[in-house]
């Protein structure tokens, strides 16, 4: 028996598989078709260096880029009752959940964290479009409530990154009830006098837009993000005409008074730092990448935060 094939090789394989070896080193921009090297693309926060198209970014990647020194502490979200309706369409809801968890490596469609941006302590929460379209169910509602409670407890601003196709249909009426539930969360922040900044990313639609995503003190969107209540296809079917180019895109909403700003992802961090610090009456921040703050070293860093 050859000990190399039976013992050593599996170990080597497992080391390799644990490493981040993307299947494709090159990714094609789905807007302009340019081939982008994966490292360059992730350094550029998944924005095409050729045409400026903003591709999806996971909450974890976003937080690494957002927080000083890429350090953040994940906040625990109270677990809701799983599959509350025993929902089954062509697949069972628990099976859809398992598939989403497997493909994303995340538990659910929302990530909540505390940390510092430009030496300013904040709570941030980001929705994960890659997890069942970011859809809003009990967990997403619980996450927003937990984030608001944490912000009130720590007296920090809340920055929310939205991205969702809408409600989690598999949770039926309970997904709809997240509209009032998350609105209560926003009210907690407002009563505590804490800034609530919403960053709307592609796409933010349906019940999500018609609740917490439209109730911020400041609304900023990423370029060309689709932001709407009813999707373009539904509207085209209703009014039986073709919608104009750019309809319901970030720039269009800016023109129609629903947003304060449209800001490219690369400038978002500095802009958020500036706005939050002004709203908190703090002196200007030092711009640029900052190392991890010293005081969070005593807190437990998030599992995925790079340890240097």
């Amino acid at each position: 028996m050859n000990w190399i094939t039976n013992y050593v090789r599996p170990r080597i394989n497992s080391i390799f598989s644990r490493r981040e070896t993307p299947e494709n080193l090159w990714q094609k921009c789905d807007e302009c078709g340019t081939m982008l090297f994966h490292r360059e693309l992730s350094d550029n926060l998944n924005v095409c260096s050729s045409c400026g198209h903003h591709m999806a970014i996971t909450p974890r990647e976003r937080f690494r880029a957002l927080f000083d020194g890429a350090v953040f502490n994940e906040i625990n979200v109270p677990e809701p009752k799983a599959d509350p309706l025993n929902f089954r369409d062509q697949k069972r809801y628990p099976d859809r959940m398992k598939a989403a968890q497997k493909s994303t490596g995340e538990k659910e469609a929302m990530l909540v964290a505390t940390g510092e941006i430009g030496r300013t302590p904040v709570v941030a929460i980001a929705q994960d479009f890659s997890f069942m379209g970011g859809s809003m169910g009990m967990y997403v509602g619980n996450a927003i409530i937990a984030a608001a409670q944490e912000a009130v407890k720590l007296q920090r601003p809340l920055i929310l990154f939205s991205a969702a196709g809408g409600a989690r249909m598999q949770e039926g009426i309970l997904s709809l009830m997240q509209m009032p539930r998350t609105t209560v969360a926003v009210q907690m922040l407002k009563e505590a006098g804490l800034p609530y900044i919403v960053v709307l990313t592609h796409p933010t639609t349906g019940g999500v837009t018609a609740s917490y995503a439209m109730l911020g003190d400041v609304h900023i969107a990423e370029p060309n993000a689709l932001i709407c209540f009813a999707g373009p296809r539904v509207i085209e079917q209703t009014i039986r005409e073709k919608l104009p180019e750019g309809f319901q895109r970030a720039e269009y909403l800016l023109d129609h008074g629903m947003l304060d700003r449209v800001t490219p992802r690369g400038q978002m961090r500095d802009e958020l730092i500036g706005i939050v610090r002004m709203l908190l009456n703090l002196p200007p921040a030092i711009k640029g990448d900052l190392p991890a703050p010293d005081d969070t070293a005593t807190e437990t860093p998030a599992e995925d935060a790079p340890k240097e």
Partner: protein, 320 residues
């Protein structure tokens, strides 16, 4: 004349035959049809009971959408006195899909707001089939705030397929308008009670129904998406609406079990449209009851209880 739903066709045949018999009897003195017609009536009554005893969720959707079902206007006319409609969002327009104004319920001044679908082609178009635009929600916000300012309870009647998915509606901020209406529901320091009288369609419904007490008529439905919409997304086939209606748990019974609504108002045999006066009276009684439960509570308590109700919602699933 009752308009029959597709699942009521056998009933239509029996009732039609009975009607035909009676017409013949009236024309022909020698013919005594009394006994035969009565037998048919009994048969029809039995069939009606069988059909309505256990309506499937999809059939409930059809009953909830029945064109002859009593609508918001019927309730306001019958239950309230001195109804004084108040119009406009002070911004862009008056949305006729939403009606509302000052009125008295048993002499007590209140603010009543509801979706109105219309009852013939002309009024349906004028009311946009009960699908509100941003102006409708903004009018509701204005009326709710006025009620809050003057200490008047708010009663909302929910009956909408959903917010209108139109170009102008999106342009003028449909999302923001709905979000503000839900927010206002949660902010006002006066009793807020809501009854789903027909269709509780998604965000357009929740914008009115974030209330201290929510009741539903027995055959009304309340859902995050229409069964047809859900079927076309999850089944990729809009004809699977029966399955979707089943899965979505949109009936009053299921919503009561889930803790989303507080009470179910029984409908007459054969649905609200077969006994309008009786239905309207039952709704009136339920509204008075629910308001009675909130009497004497101060603004802070009303707001806190309303928030807690929604924060706690859904924790136990169907086991509630």
């Amino acid at each position: 004349m009752t308009q029959y739903l597709d699942f009521e066709k056998p009933l239509a045949e029996i009732e039609g035959t009975a009607e035909e018999l009676r017409a013949m009897g009236r024309q022909n003195e020698d013919m005594d049809v009394t006994e035969e017609a009565a037998a048919l009536d009994a048969k029809a009554a039995k069939l009606l009971e069988e059909l309505y005893k256990s309506l499937t969720p999809w059939r409930k959707c059809q009953v909830a959408r029945h064109p002859q079902r009593p609508h918001c206007r019927d309730y306001i006319e019958a239950l309230f006195t001195e109804y004084t409609p108040l119009a406009g969002d002070r911004n862009f327009a008056d949305d006729h899909a939403v009606m509302g104004g000052l009125a008295r319920l048993n002499d007590r001044p209140v603010m009543v707001i509801g979706h109105e679908k219309g009852n013939d082609t002309k009024s349906r178009i004028e009311r946009n089939f009960g699908m509100a635009r941003p102006e409708g929600y903004r009018k509701a916000v204005r009326l709710m705030q006025m009620a809050g300012k003057f200490g008047l309870p708010v009663i909302t009647l929910v009956d909408t397929p959903g917010a209108y998915p139109g170009k102008g509606a999106e342009e003028r901020g449909q999302s923001e308008a709905i979000a503000r209406a839900t927010e206002t529901c949660l902010q006002i320091g006066v009793p807020l009670v809501s009854v789903v009288i027909g269709e509780g369609g998604s965000g357009g419904a929740v914008a009115f129904a974030t209330a201290n007490r929510v009741a539903m008529l027995e055959h009304s439905v309340y859902s995050v998406i229409s069964p047809e919409g859900c079927a076309s997304i999850l089944w990729k086939d809009s004809e699977k609406m029966r399955e979707a209606a089943e899965a979505l748990r949109l009936t009053a019974d299921d919503l009561k079990k889930l803790g989303v609504i507080d009470r179910i108002i029984a409908e007459p045999m054969g649905g609200a449209h077969r006994g309008k006066a009786e239905t309207i009276a039952a709704v009136g009684k339920a509204i008075a009851d629910m308001l009675g439960q909130l009497d004497g509570k101060d603004a802070t308590t009303l707001i806190q209880e309303r928030r807690k109700k929604f924060l706690d919602m859904g924790a136990t699933g169907l086991a509630a």
